[in-house]
């Protein structure tokens, strides 16, 4: 890196232009990172889905319920380790904007199927015994300032006339992974079953079953669906990740949307940095010609231009990632309830940095090759 001083001197030659380019690069990268984080948030259910878990829903649709008797029948199928069931509660805490997912769970088997949700034993035991009990995820509890022992009123109009259900917060759960879902709220199935209209009594919204081994997934899924084929409540059994992917698709083709906007951001970045480099190289035609005249090789000239564009991209990238790192928790807090929790992982930060360097190389390539191919005689004649 003998040319270090030349690279840095050239980089800071036009300070305002450099600041503007780095600024636009950084802001574009913040947008790009934000999109990636949103995409990851929507796909997190798929990523963290257990490979050894199947989900049974009604063939008619997710909102259609199934008899609770299926639980024991499914548990008897070879290869099934344990079965639990959920219902969507869908209530409102104080205001509509305070959304968080509420599930009616089966306390008996829930922990066997979802060992990744950690609840202290004493809190769990209290919950199991307390029909009006509830357990909240650590994030939701923190969001509303709840503590164990609080009384939580939740308005619900999905199951009969609007009424406020009151719950005792018996426990707070955490997850094994830092990016796990700590936003849920669980209530007892018995409590739910006693208070819903007759048509919904003794039903489950969906079943989740844990397998002895993931290798059994296809066989068990087929066996379940075959068992209930042509019954009043036909089933559709799929892996938890397929279920999560289908659930995410309800919001529209988020991935396509993000990919489209991301592509626009990528090409904008290429144009901005490429334009800066093209102008910069054009301004320095004579200087590059002199460098070549005194013996700097064509390859070294290309390297000088690429090094400069990469430095711009690297500075812009680091600044962008720093801004994203600072802004995403704030945005995530602001959109709680509207979007899943937004988390900027180390992998995303590394990807952002690699992306920035890639943009730097690509944007410097055309002006760099131009400079490399430039004939000294022609360039000096233009001076």
């Amino acid at each position: 890196m003998k040319f270090r001083s030349l690279i840095f001197a050239n980089l800071f030659r036009k300070k305002i232009r450099l600041i503007l380019t780095i600024g636009s690069f950084a802001i574009s990268l913040v947008l790009f990172t934000f999109l990636a984080v949103v995409n990851s948030a929507f796909n997190r259910g798929i990523d963290i889905a257990g490979a050894d878990r199947l989900v049974i829903v009604s063939r008619v649709g997710l909102m259609q319920v199934m008899p609770i008797s299926y639980a024991d029948q499914v548990a008897a199928i070879p290869g099934v380790k344990s079965v639990t069931h959920d219902h969507w509660f869908g209530g409102v805490y104080q205001e509509e904007k305070n959304f968080f997912p509420q599930f009616v769970i089966d306390p008996e088997n829930h922990r066997k199927v979802y060992p990744e949700f950690i609840v202290p034993d004493d809190q769990w035991n209290t919950f199991v015994k307390d029909q009006q009990g509830a357990i909240a995820g650590a994030k939701t509890a923190k969001r509303f300032g709840w503590k164990v022992g609080d009384r939580i009123p939740i308005k619900n109009s999905l199951y009969g006339p609007t009424k406020t259900w009151e719950f005792n917060l018996d426990g707070i759960y955490h997850t094994e992974k830092a990016d796990g879902d700590e936003g849920q709220f669980w209530l007892q199935w018995k409590n739910f079953d006693e208070n819903v209209p007759a048509v919904l009594k003794s039903t489950a919204g969906w079943y989740i079953l844990k397998l002895d081994t993931p290798d059994d997934a296809v066989r068990v899924a087929k066996a379940i669906d075959a068992k209930y084929a042509n019954s009043s409540f036909e089933t559709k059994t799929e892996t938890e990740s397929a279920f999560a992917a289908g659930f995410a698709k309800q919001f529209g083709n988020i991935e396509f949307l993000i990919l489209s906007v991301g592509s626009v951001v990528f090409f904008t970045l290429l144009l901005v940095t490429g334009n800066t480099m093209a102008i910069s190289v054009r301004e320095r035609t004579a200087e590059l010609a002199v460098l070549k005249a005194i013996g700097v090789t064509d390859r070294s000239v290309l390297f000088l231009v690429l090094a400069e564009s990469m430095m711009i991209a690297l500075f812009g990238g680091l600044l962008g990632l720093l801004l994203a790192w600072a802004a995403i928790p704030v945005i995530s807090a602001a959109v709680t309830g509207l979007l899943p929790p937004l988390l900027l992982s180390k992998t995303m930060l590394s990807f952002g940095l690699v992306f920035a360097v890639f943009v730097g190389v690509v944007s410097g390539l055309i002006p760099g090759i131009g400079a490399m191919r430039m004939r000294v005689v022609n360039a000096l004649r233009r001076v």
């Binding site: 005194i294 090789t297 064509d298």
Partner: protein, 247 residues
């Protein structure tokens, strides 16, 4: 001894034989140099004069390995450069040629020291060795006290001195000067010429210089005129002799 008749003894530092250069401009062929011969010995100081478009700069570019001839050969210190590949020629330039341009062509964002150091970055010299060479070159041109100044903080004459320091810092085989005083006032031009003369006389440098200025050209050991694509010695031009013929 400088010769233009192609009858040199084969021991000259620079030997040019049958050099031709043709440009194509809009379908038309323009022959700038025609079977030109030249022999320059080590320590010679040659001035090239001629009207605009006569091919002075083209000749300088060919001698410096910046351009390739249409025909003929150039041999410098035993190396025939006309058939060298682009990358080999670049390395050859770094080792053998020092360029001094009319517009100085210093890198404005580098200090005088850093500008002079540039050719040495292509060598394997260590940082301290480079410093020694740069300081020596700057002391030869009398700018040791300005080494940390940027080109914009120097006068035109001082900028040209830095260019000269940059040209000599790697101790090249010869120096090529393209209108070295063309952008300077008379006093500064005199100082630059005195410096170039000193490089020849004291340091044994070989200098080939293009100029429009007869006063500047007169300071060279020999002045050659480019007339119709061939070189003629000034004394013979006065007698009306062109490339062996009579005008």
């Amino acid at each position: 001894m400088i010769r233009v008749d192609g009858q040199g003894n084969g021991k000259s530092l620079i030997q040019v034989r049958g050099l031709s250069k043709t440009y194509r401009r809009g379908g038309e062929e323009i022959q700038v140099l025609q079977r030109l011969n030249l022999d320059v010995d080590k320590g010679d100081f040659v001035g090239f004069m001629g009207p605009s478009g006569s091919g002075k700069t083209t000749l300088l570019n060919l001698l410096g390995g910046l351009d390739v001839p249409t025909q003929g050969s150039i041999t410098v210190d035993g190396d025939e450069i006309t058939h060298m590949s682009g990358s080999k020629l670049t390395k050859w330039r770094a080792r053998h040629v020092g360029f001094i341009f009319q517009m100085y062509n210093l890198i404005p964002v580098l200090t005088a020291y850093q500008n002079v150091e540039l050719p040495l970055l292509l060598t394997k010299l260590s940082g301290s060795e480079r410093r020694k060479h740069v300081e020596t070159a700057l002391s030869v041109v009398g700018l040791t006290d300005r080494m940390n100044h940027y080109p914009r903080q120097l006068s035109g004459g001082q900028e040209q001195r830095v260019t000269i320091a940059r040209a000599i810092v790697s101790d090249p085989t010869f120096l090529l000067c393209d209108e070295p005083t063309g952008d300077l006032d008379r006093k500064s031009a005199d100082e630059i010429m005195a410096l170039i003369e000193e490089l020849v006389a004291k340091h044994g440098k070989t200098v080939l210089m293009v100029t429009h200025d007869p006063v500047v050209a007169a300071r060279a050991h020999t002045t050659l005129h480019l007339e119709k694509g061939v070189l003629v010695e000034a004394s013979k031009l006065e007698q009306g002799v062109v490339a062996g013929g009579v005008r």
